[in-house]
């Protein structure tokens, strides 16, 4: 980009909303992953009209544009792979409307999930999908990546909550999709198409989404099993029995060890633990918890701990919530977090095979999973400065992907493909399906200027 380009951009957003400083360019060229990019300018538009002008400019000059929310992607999604413009939505951060009567809100793309839930809390409402980064990640980013989280097993992902979006197309048109109603079958589901498109089809500037009442109570049961397979089977049976848990999380033995060290929490010697949460009305929750306990007993549970109060629930959750922090105990600097997902009947096998891959390569892959929906997070650990260890970690990662596909699953349940999983994309999608997707991309973005070189393997 030359000075004339920069001046033109500054004319659109104002000089205070543009940067070409080395430090800013470097910082905005990264996300949590190892992927590095090369931003030439960072812009912070304040309105959809400004976003539109930026995209018109980009189309004319063929300079790529990379939309960015909180930059918390775990797949390199917002990284500017080619010299171009990082379009940060963080200054479009207003909640525009909370429509209590129709149980929905309208917010600009840059508001964080936590901020939305903080605003909904006094009204006894909430939006249920809760990615681990909910304190920071933005509603725009969550919709663009169709984020999930631990409660997806009951409440689904953002796709299930979005009613409509305001987006700017790569060619500059501002369009609004969807309606204020929960049901709508008129025309193609553009909202659905844009949800999960990883910022490659359009820049989301506003999101309208549904909310629901906070459940009367939520209670947690923790169950310890001899083997991960026992735990996996119990999880599967709880699902099949229709007990509808709001979360059902599995922690493997490595994680139990790191957590107990980190929180000085005592666990019985076990091969895996399940944390099962039920929410709803008090009586109903109690009933479902009792039935879940029975199921666990039938699968050779070693010990069951049940929370009687909110405080106890929180304490039992603290084990899960500290799972990631506790990995610090293992002393590795870097973590590759994957999100492979398999059909729920394959949970025990997937878990067994992750451990088998880890031990074959002699590396650590502590794993927890949203097992109610078959979504695993194997954490492949390595030291960034140790090249050999890094390569082994990547090899193990590839094997994990292949295993998930072999079991009928997906390479990504909730993080997206971005850059990191591009090379594995064809494991899951054949050339004909990929060709349709590429045609859709070309239809939206004829000049390939919006978040190019993401999702699909290089042609």
């Amino acid at each position: 980009m030359d000075k004339q380009h920069i001046d033109e951009l500054a004319g659109i957003v104002g000089p205070e909303n543009l940067s070409t400083e080395t430090l800013e360019l470097e910082v905005y060229s990264r996300d949590p992953t190892v992927v590095r990019g090369q931003a030439e300018a960072v812009v912070w538009p304040r309105t959809a009209e400004q976003v539109s002008k930026i995209l018109v400019f980009a189309n004319r000059t063929k300079i790529p544009v990379y939309p960015r929310g909180a930059g918390s992607s775990l797949c390199g999604g917002p990284v500017p792979l080619r010299p171009g413009i990082v379009l940060s939505l963080e200054r479009m951060n207003r909640i525009l409307e909370i429509d209590v009567d129709n149980l929905q809100f309208l917010a600009e793309a840059g508001v964080s999930i936590r901020e939305i839930n903080d605003a909904l809390k006094p009204l006894n409402l909430f939006i249920p999908p809760d990615p681990a980064s909910e304190v920071a990640c933005t509603i725009g980013g969550c919709v663009a990546n169709n984020a999930g989280g631990i409660h997806a097993v009951k409440y689904g992902t953002f796709r299930d909550w979005v009613l409509g979006v305001e987006v700017v197309l790569p060619t500059g048109e501002i369009i609004s999709t969807g309606t204020k109603t929960r049901k709508s079958v008129s025309g193609y589901d553009l909202t659905g198409l844009i949800t999960g498109s990883e910022g490659t089809l359009a820049v989301i500037t506003k999101v309208r989404a549904r909310v629901i009442a906070v459940p009367e109570t939520s209670r947690v049961t923790t169950a310890f099993f001899k083997t991960p397979e026992d735990a996996g089977r119990a999880a599967f049976k709880i699902m099949v029995a229709g007990l509808n848990p709001s979360a059902i999380e599995l922690l493997d033995e490595t994680l139990m060890q790191t957590i107990s060290q980190y929180l000085t929490m005592k666990f019985p010697p076990a091969g895996a633990m399940l944390i099962i949460e039920f929410d709803g009305s008090r009586g109903e929750v109690k009933d479902r918890m009792d039935r879940a306990e029975e199921i666990c007993k039938g699968e050779g549970v070693i010990e069951v701990r049940v929370s009687a109060t909110d405080q106890e629930s929180q304490m039992l959750w603290s084990a899960r919530k500290s799972a990631f922090q506790s990995l610090a105990v293992l002393g590795k600097t870097s973590i590759q977090i994957e999100d492979v997902t398999v059909p729920i009947s394959k949970i025990p096998e997937m878990l067994r095979r992750i451990h088998e891959i880890a031990s074959r390569h002699g590396i650590l892959v502590p794993t927890f999973g949203h097992v109610g929906d078959g979504n695993f997070h194997p954490h492949v650990l390595y030291d960034e400065e140790n090249r050999e260890e890094y390569e082994t970690a990547m090899k193990a990662t590839e094997e994990i992907f292949k295993t998930a596909i072999e079991l009928g699953g997906t390479i990504s349940g909730e993080h997206g493909v971005g850059v990191l999983k591009r090379e594995f994309f064809s494991l899951e999608h054949d050339t004909k399906e990929t060709a349709v997707m590429r045609r859709i991309k070309r239809l939206f973005d004829p000049n390939n200027i919006l978040n190019p070189h993401k999702i699909f393997p290089e042609e």
Binding site: T22, E24, R30, D31, G71, S133, F324, Q325
Partner: protein, 387 residues
């Protein structure tokens, strides 16, 4: 001229542990003001890494990011990697001084102030009412009340009130007649040697007077004596208490009692250096709970998530402090809260100077307690709420 920071093994490990997750965006008060990642803890840690990799030069922009970290530790409360962000920033500032690339000229003025006047504010003499009260105190005692620069020279009433309460607790205490700044400002700006030199002056007197206990009113002084004084190895072990801890004990054991109600809905603002740094969250709240009439309202962001007032941000960036205070007051539900209480003279100063019209007052906890004990007759701004 290039500058490549190098850290010891522990801090290098910490720096590497920052995997740029972005959670600190939800906490960093400077980020909230700037809405630009380079002003966030993550951005600062990346800046350090980029300096190490030689990908960014040490220019004015980078220095700005380094010196505007409020060292409030808010980010550390949410950091999944438990990265010691503030230790890294402090060490980086120390390295800048060693490499003669820091601190900023304005910062050196603070050191000059202390050498010339014994206080950071460069004030020549204490307010008269405080000096008179000091003159009545014994020359030495087992307990020394360390007064701190801000209370001594700007808010003497906080101290004179505390003197009166301490007398009631029958604590024999003295102050250092020639008290020298504890040096915490200097340490936080990376002037490690200068900070040590300044603190050593106090350490020497403490040893000579065989002091057994230090009580501080300022949370920053409190941390200096708790953490830095033992490192000098000049004094034998000295107990360090914050005034609110001592007063809570005295109230709980019944040595002192409150007699006058304060009918007010108050919220307590945790000072970063007392809360996140020292985990003293309950003592000040318990004091307020023991005052009849006080209705203690907790903010949504409280205790470890309490907002920073920007107290450690120095010139030339002090205008950021107003932004941070504004952020704090944005979170105060004006319809529910009448006054804000704090136990730190610096927080008091910043909040007092920026409180919006709807807030009836910003109060020092010692003054509120002094009033409730009938020891002082008036607190500014409190008219109409007392009795």
């Amino acid at each position: 001229m290039s500058f490549t920071p190098t850290f010891n093994k522990e801090l290098t490990y910490d720096l590497n542990k920052c995997f740029r997750c972005s959670f600190c965006r939800s906490q960093c008060p400077i980020y909230r003001s700037k809405m630009n990642e380079t002003w966030n803890a993550r951005g600062r840690m990346m800046a350090v890494q980029l300096l190490r990799e030689g990908r960014v030069p040490l220019d004015e922009k980078v220095l700005e990011r380094i010196y505007t970290c409020a060292l409030c530790k808010s980010c550390e409360e949410i950091c999944p990697g438990l990265v010691k962000v503030t230790d890294i920033v402090r060490d980086l500032r120390r390295q800048l001084v060693e490499a003669k690339r820091g601190p900023l000229p304005e910062h050196l003025k603070l050191y000059e102030n202390i050498t010339e006047t014994k206080n950071v504010l460069a004030l020549k003499s204490r307010p008269r009412e405080l000096q008179e009260a000091i003159d009545k105190l014994p020359q030495t005692a087992d307990t020394v009340l360390f007064m701190g620069c801000v209370a001594q020279y700007v808010y003497p009433r906080h101290l004179t009130t505390l003197f009166k309460i301490l007398e009631k607790t029958e604590t024999d205490f003295a102050v250092l007649k020639d008290e020298v700044c504890c040096g915490s400002y200097l340490a936080e700006l990376g002037l490690a040697k200068e900070a040590e030199e300044v603190l050593a002056k106090t350490a020497k007197i403490l040893r000579e007077q065989d002091v057994k206990r230090i009580v501080t009113l300022c949370p920053m002084c409190y941390n200096t004596f708790r953490n830095d004084l033992p490192r000098l190895k000049v004094t034998p072990k000295i107990e360090v208490q914050h005034s609110t801890q001592l007063l809570e004990e005295a109230l709980t054991s019944g040595v002192i009692k409150t007699s006058r109600p304060v009918k007010m809905r108050l919220t307590y603002k945790d000072p970063c250096h007392l809360g996140r740094y020292a985990e003293v969250y309950d003592a000040p709240r318990n004091i307020l709970r023991m005052i009849e009439g006080v209705e203690l309202i907790e903010l949504e962001r409280t205790r470890e998530f309490s907002r920073c007032c920007g107290g450690t941000i120095r010139v030339p960036y002090s205008e950021l402090r107003n932004d941070l205070c504004r952020s704090f007051f944005d979170d105060v539900p004006k319809s529910k809260v009448e006054g804000v209480v704090t136990s730190c003279p610096t927080c008091f100063h910043n909040l007092y100077s920026t409180a919006p019209y709807e807030i009836k007052g910003v109060f020092d906890i010692h003054e509120i307690l002094g009033y409730a004990m009938g020891m002082i007759e008036r607190i500014e701004d409190l008219t109409g709420f007392l009795e």
